[in-house]
């Protein structure tokens, strides 16, 4: 266990190095002089000169990267030039909103994806299986921002049941918060539900043909007991790991979902930053999501290792 962990964490170091290099290197893509671009429309020579010293733009790339990396190591991701706030502060401010959305979306995806996958495997090649597979294809092929607009059209405009946009924090009222989040969570969870359904289905088909399931059946156990108590727990393992890995995809999708429903989270932060040419914020958000993804990946691997006795020897 110890050796495995050391090796696993050891691999993270060079990966993290390349992540930071990639994100810092983005700056090199800016056409023209970064100081002039960052100074905004008026190009005040004083501002340009100030930025040039502050960002060490006269220094070579390696030196600038070292300065930046030293800040990152201390949790300093630079300052938003537009909002005049530290990037770290901005990210931490928006994070809870996106986390709530992502967690709700994950619940939606697990609930729909796993149950559809189980039904589809148990009733393989029946109309139920067929319907579940069509649902998966629909989920994989629908752009989530379009689904969001369609739901607004149905539930807000036509039926008037749910608010079309806006965010209510749980502190202001849990009921309002859930009313505002139910459509976004469904929209964001939809594609992941499709992915989870496909994996649950194939894992369940495999589990249902395993020897221990045959034994359970021959003991005369009921179908529901065999499926839920014997096959499902074994089939669920890889699905849960996959769910953890797909969290990054949820963050990607959150950018669009938040845009459709005007939710002031992480995704809106990066989109606004892109249009304000607030490059430090863009870099900060990418670095933060990449680090979070690597951490989740590590946790998933360790969990898999702990739960799977065959890997432990």
């Amino acid at each position: 266990m110890g050796r495995y962990l050391v090796r696993r964490v050891g691999l993270l170091v060079p990966t993290l190095f390349f992540v930071t290099l990639l994100i810092f290197g983005l700056q090199q893509l800016l056409p023209g002089d970064p100081a002039v671009i960052l100074a905004g429309e008026d190009r005040d020579p004083n501002v340009v000169a100030y930025l040039r010293t502050k960002l060490h733009l006269d220094e070579p790339f390696a030196v600038r990267y070292a300065y930046w990396l030293r800040g990152v190591a201390k949790g300093d991701l630079g300052e938003s030039l537009r909002i005049q706030k530290p990037v770290t502060e901005l990210i931490l401010e928006k994070l809870p909103v996106t986390l709530e959305l992502a967690v709700l979306a994950m619940l939606v995806a697990l609930a729909i994806g796993v149950s559809a996958g189980v039904l589809s495997a148990v009733f393989k090649d029946s109309p139920i299986d067929y319907a579940a597979r069509v649902f998966a294809l629909w989920g994989l092929s629908t752009p989530n921002f379009w689904l969001g607009i369609l739901l607004i059209l149905l539930f807000s405009v036509q039926l008037g049941w749910l608010p079309a946009s806006g965010y209510v924090s749980p502190a202001e009222g849990l009921k309002g918060n859930l009313a505002a989040m139910v459509m976004p969570a469904f929209v964001l969870g939809n594609a992941l539900a499709a992915v989870l359904m496909r994996h649950t289905r194939s894992a369940m088909i495999e589990a249902l043909s395993a020897d221990y399931v045959r034994t359970a059946r021959s003991k005369g156990l009921k179908q529901a007991v065999v499926v839920l108590r014997h096959a499902l727990p074994n089939a669920l393992m890889p699905v849960i790991t996959l769910g953890a890995l797909e969290f990054g995809a949820l963050l990607s999708g959150a950018v669009l979902t938040e845009q459709v429903f005007s939710i002031p989270g992480f995704g809106k932060l990066i989109v606004d930053a892109v249009f304000n040419r607030d490059y430090a914020v863009v870099q900060g958000v990418v670095l933060f999501t990449a680090s979070a993804y690597m951490l989740l990946n590590l946790l998933a691997d360790v969990a898999y290792f702990l739960v799977n006795p065959r890997l432990r020897t």
Partner: protein
Amino acid sequence: MEALRILLRRKGALFGLLVIGLFVLVALLAPWIAPHDPLATSWSAVRKAPSAAYLLGTDEIGRDVLSRIIWGARASLLAGVVSVSLSLLLGLPIGLLAGYLGGWVDALISRMVDAMLACPFLILAIALAAFLGPSLTNAMIAIGISATPIFVRLTRGQVLAVKVEDYVEAARAVGNSRLRIALRHVLPNIVAPLIVQATLAIAAAVIAEASLSFLGLGQQPPAPSWGSMLNTAKNYVDQAPWMAIWPGVSIFLLVLSFNLVGDGLRDALDPRHRH
């Protein structure tokens, strides 16, 4: 040929191929089949519901929605094909290098691939598009680069599996150069999974282009693209729902078709998937 027969026997894949073919035709023939100029505004026809004159209605400044969808097919298809070609062009040689040379080259490339895969696909594409500047070309570059690590990893894995086969061993034994072995003996044997992945990647790239355009980072207005049409449609969903429905249906159909063909190709090309 056997693979093609299996592919065409699958109803889903056949449907996908037909729809893709239809969209390609529409995109190519856009100047002749679009009923109106996609950029022509008309203040007397603002947000008109579908009618005989405007089959799918008009948008917020009186442009014909159908004509914009027809022209928008160009941006979507172009983005799908060009960005995936770019990922293949970059990913294939890098993956071949990593898998075939092994050692520190492989270790270095693998860590770089891990780093890129750690950044969520769309967020990386948004960041790249932001720094490159918003345009359809830059969106295609951003999507292509973001999708590259998948192809590097796939190629590398396939090469590692093929490298130890007897025929590669034999080619080495008779004194073929490394490059010749890689191109003549390894490459042809790893093409099938790459084709499958590329088809599915086109589906993802079409969605990604629509997403970037929806955010304002892809095709720039007034040029038509399905994603940016949905962006404006969002603001008029209560008054002009037709603006929101048809561009989305188009994205859905095109993406669904590439997914269906990709699934079909996997069954046709990979004997393990044949039922």
